[in-house]
């Protein structure tokens, strides 16, 4: 399930760029950076669980998700799979061989970046509304939601130039995740040494 979300995000993040227009398509060499705030609303819990941090998305290499508060956890997703580290020490490694879904969608990512919507459409029904400056997209899974294979009932994405917010409604009714992306920027600066090292470690 976690993998599924990761993949969805990876697809959605660059979507914004695409939605905004061809001029904003992510090209090779460009890096998307930003901050995120994740709020997890769970039924019966008194308050949402809030995580803040920042991320780096590099097309062709993967995504670095650095959660900073309340726990510093680094998650790196590449074509090879998912790696998590706490304080420099690796805590989890899931190879993509075990995540066929992940690798499948990772391939589709390339297609989507190039403007091919059909890939997403096999698993989700997408409805778009709004315009380039202010758009909203609703994804409904074609599969019946259940805990393991498709844990979402719906995914709502909002954005302007970039993807600003994603709301994931869990299959389990009542639980949802809210992800907000702030201070995003596209730059052609190459990766810092740390970031490159992180990707290397994940291989």
């Amino acid at each position: 399930m976690r993998r599924l979300l990761a993949v969805v995000l990876m697809v959605l993040l660059p979507l914004s760029a695409w939605c905004a227009g061809p001029s904003q398509t992510l090209e090779a060499g460009q890096v998307l950076r930003g901050r995120f705030v994740q709020e997890r609303h769970l039924k019966g819990f008194n308050a949402p669980l809030r995580t803040e941090g920042h991320f780096v998305l590099v097309p062709g290499r993967g995504l670095i998700w650095l959660a900073e508060t309340p726990f510093a956890v680094t998650t790196i997703i590449t074509a090879q799979g998912l790696v998590q580290a706490v304080g420099g020490a690796e805590t989890m490694r899931l190879p993509s061989a075990r995540l066929p879904f992940l690798s499948r969608l990772y391939d589709m990512l390339g297609g989507v970046l190039g403007g091919d919507w059909r890939a997403i459409e096999t698993d989700f029904a997408a409805t778009r509304s709004g315009d380039a400056g202010h758009w909203q997209m609703e994804l409904s899974p074609r599969q019946t939601p259940d805990q393991i294979t498709m844990p979402f009932r719906s995914i709502t994405a909002k954005g302007g130039r970039f993807l600003d917010e994603v709301i994931l409604l869990k299959a389990d009714g009542g639980d949802f995740d809210q992800l907000r992306f702030l201070d995003q920027s596209l730059s052609a600066t190459p990766l810092s040494a740390d970031e490159a090292a992180a990707f290397d470690r994940a291989r």
């Binding site: 769970l42 019966g44 819990f45 995580t51 998650t75 066929p100 805990q147 389990d172």
Partner: protein, 1089 residues
């Protein structure tokens, strides 16, 4: 004429037996046909041939269960570049396999239902279940790490928090336990309902499960092969590769190979036999007789084995087919008799009957010793072969004489020349040097081979696994990471709890080894269901080390209120998850049920299977010191067992020889019987050495082959020993053909790809060749000593030596002294010469019947022998010092005197009743005429030698009977006209020309009498007198009877009847005198034969 009714009775007895045998064969054939209609099942698993571990039934059972579980495990991987194609192919074939109920699909991975079931199973006991890493952390007091990890997961990137789960398990211990479970086939994961894997651009979809049925049953293999046919697959789903793993595929490949080899070998062997027989005999009759024998043998063997065992192993069939080479020996022995001097079929059979029977008996003994090895497969081979051989023997003995219509061939000369040539190599002094050279070379080669001799018992070398399947297996294992090896730990404890605790101790020992790479993974029940003690301990740990300090803070961080879920804690302190609950079949952990072997012998038995073992010794040591834990390596233990039985097999050979020896000693006497065993034993000893020279290893199967080499070798030696005289080249030809056919069948086995069969075939080939080459060593060296043969080859035992001895003694001690010596020697001869004793007693029996006396006992027999010894002594005295002979009376000599005065000679028919030798010198003196004695060649040579050594002046010439040609006949006639007498024995039948024999009554039974004397007399146109010289009191009385005063004219018509009449007259005279002095009868053979 008299006696014809007796004639008619004899054939009908053998016909009756033949009919009985026909009925038996028909029954066997019927049974076989019935089974064939129902379908005959052949087993193909090599394990059925391998030995049972008899010391430890629990171990054997564990072995069996693990092996069976492993062997029923089937893995199919469908790979394609296009995911949809792979999935489609997998779904299609999976459905078809399901439809045929061949496979119980059990993807032992994580599918949605299974996960949910697992969750439901574990949930009530979650507080007792801790992942191994978590337990370590708690024991080391690092509870905070667990708390942090849980929080980071909940807060983390796309946290997997399920609200309800978190409330019950705020530290995510269950999740951790779940992910820590070493579920098999971990490299795969669930992709939309199918376990699959993506690698190198290919998508692989898995269909796995348990085979419904025996992987070694041919019909299961066939059905699987039909569904998984690669050609059909390509047609239906192009671009999809299928990799397969499972014992059923190996078994099919092995079975296919074995079946094709069987049919090939069987066909080639039969073909070769046909060609050989056709070439040798150039007639159809021996050919179809041999085929009949082989056919009946194989058919009855198959029928009997199926009846006894239910189903037959393919290996037994394979070896049984090579039986063809051995069974044909017996029919060949019979058929080659056609090259010997002509005789009716029953006579020909009689000549070889003893040899064939002895050969069959020894070979059957050899095969039956295979029963002593506890190999079920060898039992089948033993029964199959023994029944087949006995059936072949019965066919030869009962049917062949009745069915034989062969005519004596004209081309036999060349063939016999070959046989004689082989014999010449052994007998001619000229060949002595090459013989010695050959022996030296053989010894050298054997010594060289001994250096290279090494044993190899590795059972993996025994069965050649299909290379293609092995490659597929490698690929599958690399892809899915499931490498169940053969090794495992066996745990036998008093109850479940103790077993689980033992497992936990073992797991602690194995985990560091996994980290070091000594093995990749292991499956143990305790990893899925901890022991009760541990579950309680875990609960304590969780309560005291984790929750008490950290729970509040954790809940606060999760923004949760402390729930009244704490109320559960009190309850589940009592509840513990047991294996019985976890392993319910159909439940989520049903696949692990093979790890629990139940309670055989009252102890709970668990298995811990190991995967990917690289350092065997270290892993084996992990269980050291634990009383209930045992490391089992089936392959290694098979190997050790094979080694053990290889050594035992050598003992079996010795035992086999020991079992055969009494039979041979009974037949041939002690020394000759043991000498018979020398060539086969030599062959057995030299064969491994020679094979090692060629690089072969000495394995158990080589040892078993040597057992058979011994029995077949004994056959050849027996045939050599049972033959004599002119029949020897014939026998050599028969043995050569037998060796050829045997080499063809076993030599073909050497071409097999199955290592065990190849070893067996090579050893057999070398062994049989050696046995054949060495067999003539057992031949009869002295010039004929088989008592059932012709009288002419009866050598006076020890005559020359005895005579020298007696001469010396006589000079010293006189007649009395010699008699004493004879009293010492004769009993030995009486006891050891069984055949002559038998005949002597038989003869005396007939006489006693006529005289109304009770049957003779050993005293009468001994007295008879003594009488013979006295006769020899008297003869000797007569030659050496004729004046010392006692008084000689003459009775009925009027006609003789008259003929002598007329200057006419004649034919004197003497016999071996009484001492005819004695009178030679005296007769000459009596009538002033020369007496010529007609004797057989061998006897004559020796006789003349003795005479010349003892008293050269006894001028009576000894003329050889076999040499009577026209020249001799004329010479004889001239002598008779000169007045000389020709003495000829009337109670001995001629050597070769057995047709000039009439069977006439003698002492109440029909006995053969030679027509020769009367024909000779008719040719020479001279009178016939009959003479007996019987010892009476201290002296001798010579009786003359006039048989015919003038020449006998032989009529043209009714000549045979006339001659028969003459023989009958002589027989009557002989009988009269015989009854006068039965103990002076010196024909120690079966006179009525």
């Amino acid at each position: 004429m008299t006696g014809y009714s007796a004639f008619a009775a004899l054939p009908s007895r053998s016909q009756f037996l033949a009919l009985l045998w026909l009925v038996a064969v028909a029954v066997a054939g019927g049974y076989l046909a019935w089974r064939a209609v129902e379908g005959i099942h052949f087993r193909t698993d090599l394990t059925a041939l391998l030995p049972r571990e008899d010391q430890d039934p629990a171990l054997q059972r564990a072995n069996d269960t693990v092996t069976r579980a492993l062997s029923q495990h089937v893995v199919l991987l469908f790979g394609a570049a296009d995911r949809a194609q792979a999935r489609a192919a997998a779904a299609d074939l999976s459905r078809r396999l399901d439809g045929e109920a061949l496979l119980s699909a059990s993807t032992s991975g994580l599918d949605k239902d299974r996960l949910q079931q697992l969750g439901r199973l574990y949930f009530p006991y979650r507080r007792g279940l801790l992942a191994e890493g978590d337990r370590q952390r708690l024991l080391e007091g690092k509870a905070q790490e667990i708390a942090d990890r849980a929080l980071s997961q909940v807060y983390g990137f796309i946290g997997m928090a399920d609200a309800r789960l978190l409330r019950q398990d705020p530290f995510l211990l269950m999740t951790s336990f779940f992910t820590g479970l070493p579920l098999p086939m971990s490299r795969l994961s669930l992709d939309d309902g199918m376990m699959s894997l993506k690698q190198d651009g290919m998508t692989w979809v898995l269909v796995a499960g348990r085979l419904n049925g025996e992987p070694f049953a041919l019909d299961v293999q066939r059905r699987m092969a039909a569904i998984l046919d690669p050609v059909a697959l390509q047609a239906a789903h192009p671009g999809v590769t299928l990799l397969r793993l499972g014992a059923v595929f190996y078994a099919k490949a092995g079975a296919d190979q074995a079946m094709s080899e069987t049919s090939l070998i069987g066909m080639l062997s039969t073909l070769g036999t046909i060609v050989l027989v056709a070439l040798a005999f150039r007639a159809l009759s021996p050919l179809w007789l041999s085929l009949l024998v082989i056919g009946v043998g194989v058919m009855t063997a198959l029928s009997a084995s199926l009846w006894l065992f239910g189903d037959l192993h393919v290996g037994a069939l394979l070896f049984g087919v090579s039986l063809i080479g051995v069974a044909v020996d017996y029919s060949l022995q019979y058929c080659t008799e056609i090259f010997a001097p002509a005789a009716p079929p029953r006579m020909r059979l009689r000549r070889v009957a003893m040899g064939v029977t002895l050969g069959t008996a020894t070979t059957v003994i050899g095969y039956l010793t295979l029963f002593l090895a506890p190999f079920p497969g060898l039992h089948q081979i033993a029964v199959f072969s023994a029944v087949g051989l006995v059936a072949a023997w019965m066919t030869v003995v009962l049917w062949l004489p009745l069915l034989d219509r062969s005519v004596p061939p004209r081309h036999g000369r060349r063939l016999l020349a070959i046989g004689a040539g082989v014999l010449a190599v052994w007998e001619t002094p000229g060949y002595r040097r090459p013989r010695r050279l050959a022996f030296a070379l053989l010894t050298l080669a054997a010594l060289a081979g001994l250096f290279r001799l090494h044993a190899d018992d590795d059972v993996r070398h025994m069965q050649a696994l299909s290379g293609d399947l092995l490659a597929q297996q490698e690929r599958i294992l690399r892809l899915i990471g499931d490498a169940a090896g053969g090794q495992f730990f066996l745990i036998q404890a008093a109850d479940e709890e103790a077993a689980l605790r033992d497992e936990e101790a073992l797991i602690d020992a194995l985990r560091p080894l996994v980290a070091e790479g000594a093995l990749r993974n292991f499956q143990a029940l305790a990893r899925y269901v901890p022991s009760a003690a541990r579950q309680r301990e875990n609960r304590q740990l969780v309560r005291h080390v984790l929750e008490t300090p950290l729970l509040e803070r954790q809940l606060a961080q999760l923004h949760l209120d402390p729930t009244p879920g704490a109320a559960d804690q009190a309850d589940d302190d009592q509840q513990v998850l047991t294996p019985g609950q976890a392993l319910s079949p159909g439940g989520p952990l049903g696949v692990l049920s093979s790890l629990d072997l139940g309670r055989p012998d009252g102890t709970t038995t668990h298995v811990v299977t190991l995967e990917g073992v690289t350092q065997l010794e270290r892993v084996a040591q992990a269980g050291a010191g634990m009383r209930d834990v045992r490391f089992v390596d089936p392959t290694a233990s098979f190997t050790t067992l094979l080694g053990k039985y290889r050594n035992r097999a050598i003992l079996l050979i010795v035992l086999s020889a020991v079992l055969m020896a009494p039979l041979l000693i009974w037949r041939h006497g002690l020394i000759r019987g043991l000498r018979l065993l020398a060539p086969p034993l030599l062959a057995v000893a030299l064969t491994p050495a020679l094979r090692a020279l060629g690089g072969g290893a000495f394995t158990f199967f080589d040892a078993m082959a040597l057992v058979l080499v011994l029995s077949v070798g004994v056959d050849y030696a027996v045939f050599c020993a049972e033959t004599s005289g002119e029949r020897r080249p014939v026998t050599m030809v028969a043995i050569a053909m037998a060796a050829c056919t045997a080499l063809m069948s076993f030599g073909l086995l050497a071409l097999s790809h199955v290592a065990a069969v190849h070893a067996f075939g090579s050893t057999m080939s070398i062994g049989i060749l050696l046995a054949f080459l060495l067999a003539p060593m057992a031949r009869t060296i002295d010039a004929g000593a088989d008592e059932d043969g012709h009288w002419a080859r009866l050598a006076e035992r020890g005559t020359l030596f005895g005579l020298r001895l007696i001469r010396g003694l006589y000079g010293v001690a006189g007649r009395r002294g010699c008699l004493v010596l004879l009293w010492l020697i004769v009993p030995y001869f009486y006891l050891s010469d069984k055949a002559r004793r038998r005949h002597c007693l038989a003869f005396l029996g007939e006489v006693h019947v006529r005289q109304g006396l009770p049957p003779p006992g050993w005293q009468e027999g001994l007295a008879h022998f003594m009488s013979f010894a006295e006769k020899a002594l008297d003869t000797f005295i007569a030659w050496v010092c004729p004046e010392r002979t006692g008084a000689i009376r003459v009775v009925g000599d009027e006609t003789m005197r008259r003929l002598a005065t007329e200057g006419r000679g004649g034919l004197l028919i003497v016999s071996h009743l009484g001492n005819a030798e004695l009178c030679r010198a005296h007769l000459a003196k009596l009538f002033g005429r020369r007496v010529n004695v007609l004797l057989h060649s061998h006897h004559a040579v020796q006789y003349n030698r003795i005479l010349n050594a003892v008293c050269p002046e006894v001028g009576a010439e000894t003329i050889q009977v076999t040499d009577i040609g026209p020249a001799t006949a004329i010479d004889l006639k001239e002598r008779v006209e000169r007045g000389e007498w020709i003495a000829i024995a009337g109670d001995r039948t001629p050597v070769l020309n057995k047709s000039r024999v009439s069977r006439v009554p003698f002492l109440g039974r029909l006995a053969p009498f030679s027509q020769g004397p009367y024909i000779l007399a008719s040719l020479m146109g001279c009178p016939i007198q009959v003479m007996f010289c019987l010892r009476e009191g201290d002296g001798y009385t010579v009786y003359f009877e006039t048989f015919s005063e003038d020449a006998i004219p032989l009529p043209r018509r009714g000549r045979d009847l006339y001659l028969e009449d003459l023989c009958a007259r002589y027989a009557a005279i002989l009988e009269t005198y015989c009854l006068m002095a039965p103990r002076q009868w010196y024909n120690f053979f079966d006179f009525w034969a």
